[in-house]
Symmetry: C2
Subunit: 313 residues, 2 copies
């Protein structure tokens, strides 16, 4: 089965022609979340049509367009449910009509973390499983859950998606979401610089010389023995450990897949989390399998076929 | 529709003859979780038969026996999935066969927090809702979730049940479940005495004179101005607030129902949690309704009819 797919992030939109578990052709457009989605739509349609042209494939050979969105999506309604400072005009747009008019195709939309889970389930680390939690560690912390082969969505499209907003430090930092001590507020790309500045010995740390503090630099300095970097690294690992245990307790998965940009440092993260979960998760039935994501930033695109086929509805 | 129901706790077993949303006859037996379930079964069957006799109702007039269990239950398999120091022989017992032989009735089993949610949904605070989280504050902290009118169960019968075991203090106390900083470890009946002893000024507090520190005594002394009691009370309220926000973020409900023995002090708890959730939960679609449970310890019994009818499967 063939399909078109879009994975829309805050700064770029990946467009692809998919056949089952393979990306046949792909093209990435620069995008601007602050500028809204409406001005991007004609460029997306153009890019998708040129992919079809390159592949000498008529649109009618595709089962539809699967649209992965960096915000909450109302899958049943075929629209964006709510945004958070990216593409804020999107909830008002009739994307189904746009897709039918400009491509002649059926339109299905889903949140990007759920799409990444679908992709990893269909073509990556989660093949053969039916109960999966996905965690993406990046600028934010995303999540999604599949329970007994069904993608967890919930009444307002929020269920399973807010793994980064489970409070793991009830008296901690205020999060951008309004809650206190969320995983994101305590251990994510956006909160990392503040976390580092609060570490003891920051002023004399190598971290203080970094123009931009990233997890890659944090792990680098920590492995070189920088005390402040080690302190922040160890704290972040424990925060992610607590979050993983919380998600296992919440959703009862047999597998947790960890993805996101921070997993470039997987060697410093995955063994810690595997050990943490083995020691602290309450799973009398056996042991949860903890795996790194396999598909990188192609995961959400490769969720296209199972989304369009409703394999996990 | 009529049904028999059992609600089995660690120290007693409530038995009832139910008709729709009413308890027609009821009888409570003393029980002993440490002694196992096998010796209790003949007494349960006797009590249920005598309820039928008193009501002049043949067993055949009942749709079945709904069994609410204080541990993890495998609903589909009709058996206890796992226990935690109460009725540890239960997973090995063939309860379906026992029920058919001794009562001639169909047998359905479910975890007690899920049964309480079913009861409140069918006959109490949750009527008309389809997306509900239930939290029970007591010796432990229990939970259950209904998502889009389906009871959340999960592959190993754990999903939704472990709301008391979401870590809300990643560097906190070790919980009986093996995790760190769980809601139960930081604010429940069993952890309360230890929490109080750790409070500043405990030695000179009225709490130190209590033979047994309960939440009822804690709230009493706190409202009288005892400093240590106020400190522990305020900390517990914040822990429960963080837990409620975490459960809202996890399951996307329109309503949270708070029950359990601690809610005898509801006037000191519910307004705080309502305000906390209104300020801190991330629900762009609107406001979650926070309600006290209405059915008290009858909730699990009144879940009998929806359980036997599979209304929330």
């Amino acid at each position: 089965m063939k399909a078109l797919a879009v994975d829309l992030g805050g700064t770029h939109a990946a467009c692809a022609l998919i056949e089952d578990r393979a990306i046949l052709h792909a093209k990435t457009l620069a995008a601007d979340g602050a500028g809204g989605l409406a001005p991007l739509l004609p460029r997306l349609a153009g890019a998708l049509r040129s992919l079809l042209h390159e592949a000498d494939t008529p649109a009618s050979a595709c089962a539809g367009l699967a649209f992965s969105f960096c915000g909450l999506a109302d899958h049943a309604g075929g629209r964006v449910a709510s945004t958070n400072a990216k593409y804020d005009d999107a909830p008002r747009l009739h994307l189904k009509a746009w897709c039918e008019t400009s491509l002649g195709l059926r339109f299905e939309i889903e949140n990007d973390a759920r799409m990444a889970l679908l992709g990893e389930w269909y073509a990556g680390a989660g093949q053969g499983m039916e109960d999966i939690v996905m965690i993406t560690l990046g600028t934010g912390v995303g999540g999604a859950a599949m329970i007994q082969r069904r993608l967890l969505r919930g009444k307002h499209a929020q269920a399973g998606c807010l793994g980064g907003h489970l409070p793991v430090l009830y008296n901690g930092r205020r999060c951008t979401c309004g809650a206190i001590g969320c995983v994101e507020a305590e251990a994510s790309g956006w909160s990392l610089p503040e976390l580092c500045r609060a570490a003891s010995g920051f002023a004399s740390s190598l971290l203080a010389r970094e123009k931009q503090i990233t997890f890659e630099r944090l792990f680098h300095h920590a492995s070189a023995g920088d005390a402040a970097a080690m302190e922040v690294r160890d704290r972040c690992l424990k925060i992610w450990g607590a979050a993983t245990v919380g998600l296992i307790h919440a959703y009862d998965p047999e597998m947790v897949i960890i993805g996101g940009g921070v997993m470039k440092s997987a060697a410093a993260i995955l063994p810690f989390l595997q050990d943490y979960v083995a020691r602290h998760a309450w799973t009398p039935w056996g042991k949860v399998s903890l795996q790194g994501a396999q598909l990188g930033n192609q995961a959400a695109l490769l969720g296209a076929i199972p989304l369009l086929q409703g394999q996990a509805d």
